[in-house]
Amino acid sequence: MIVEPSPFRGTFQFAWDNTSLELLKTCPRKYQLTIIEGWRSKTPSAALDFGRLFHAGLELVDLAMAKGDPLDEALHHAIDYLLRETVSYDEDGVHTPWVSGDKYRTREILIRSVIWYFEQYSTDPLPTHILPDGNPALELSFSFKIHEDEQLGQILWCGHIDKLVDFGEHVMVLERKHTSSSSFPFKYFEKYLTNSQVSGYTYAGKVLLQTEVHGAIVDAAQVLIGGTRFQRSQFIRTPAQLDEWANDTLSWIKTAKGYSDTSNWPMNTESCMNYGGCVFLGICSKDPSVRAQFLRTHFEPRPWNPLKVRKAGVYE
């Protein structure tokens, strides 16, 4: 059994990724429950499950094509994987297809969206960047030091870049997202103007490649009942913006150190109703004396570890 190294010293996280950082910014209490204590809801999230599967499907096609498979063969491989991932079997071997409970996130829409993505961009592909060692820049797990001082010790920035692409003369990070939002495409894309994942991955791309990475290209899919719409947008980050991101990130990590030192992770009650309501609303709204009991009933321990290296073809 492989034991993953811990990203914590006590309750202070020294290995950070974008998921941890966004949770801390959203609500320190949500960060404490999710990242430090490792609680995850027992109730499946259609958006998270669909996103993970959509992502996996696209990545499997990319990987197969990088090995030289033609598109149709690569699609077969991905579709076969997705179909198998979205059924469960009872003890008699009878299968039950996945039902997400969300009309926009079904098995059919998942498969359709993967096929349509490659149809959409067949005439406008973004070539995978080729690394100096000759390998395609796919599935790049990273973890490197971004800061060290006496107060914080060594701080690592971690993550997983799916793909670096050549965009004209530039190298860009490719991010692929899905949404069922009706604000697509114009309002939907505005969030990426200052999005910390775009900045943090651009920063990481520069460190990994030792060359200029200019920003990210976001390919977003709007999943609808009758079809899937796609839109591609690019988001540039200047060197000064990346420095600003690094400074801001360090400020947030220092804030986390303060919470950790005082063992006090305050609620940000302004975030409770964002995106349809926080998953911990039913916990934080209870008297503190009974919260642990409710947590154990409705959540399960599934720790998040930014130091865990993702393996090709394993999508958790």
């Binding site: 149709d72 699609l75 077969h76 579709i79 076969d80 179909l83 198998r84 059924v87 071997g93 009878v94 299968h95 297809p97 098995r107 059919e108 498969i111 359709r112 096929i115 349509w116 149809e119 009758g226 079809g227």
Partner: protein, 82 residues
């Protein structure tokens, strides 16, 4: 107990929604490469239909936006005090 869908004789150009629904209902372990080819063919054809419908909708919306409101048709700048 699972059954293999009976769409193996259907030409790719004629894959129907019923064929695809049968494939989705089947145990994925029983699907053949030909079955997956049918899914791909069906959704590619669906995309052409969707894009055609989207284009028609967009054209109608453009035409509607370009149509002059009859109540304003006879007005001159002078009528508007400009």
């Amino acid at each position: 107990m699972t059954t293999t869908p009976s769409t193996s004789e259907t030409p790719l150009s004629e894959v129907s929604i019923q064929d695809v629904q049968a494939l989705f209902a089947a145990d994925p372990r029983t699907l053949t490469p030909e079955d997956i080819s049918k899914m791909v063919a069906y959704y590619r054809a669906e995309r052409h239909r969707w894009l055609a419908a989207e284009n028609t909708k967009a054209t109608k919306e453009k035409k509607a936006a370009a149509t002059v409101n009859p109540a304003l048709a006879g007005l001159s700048l002078e009528d508007l005090g400009l």
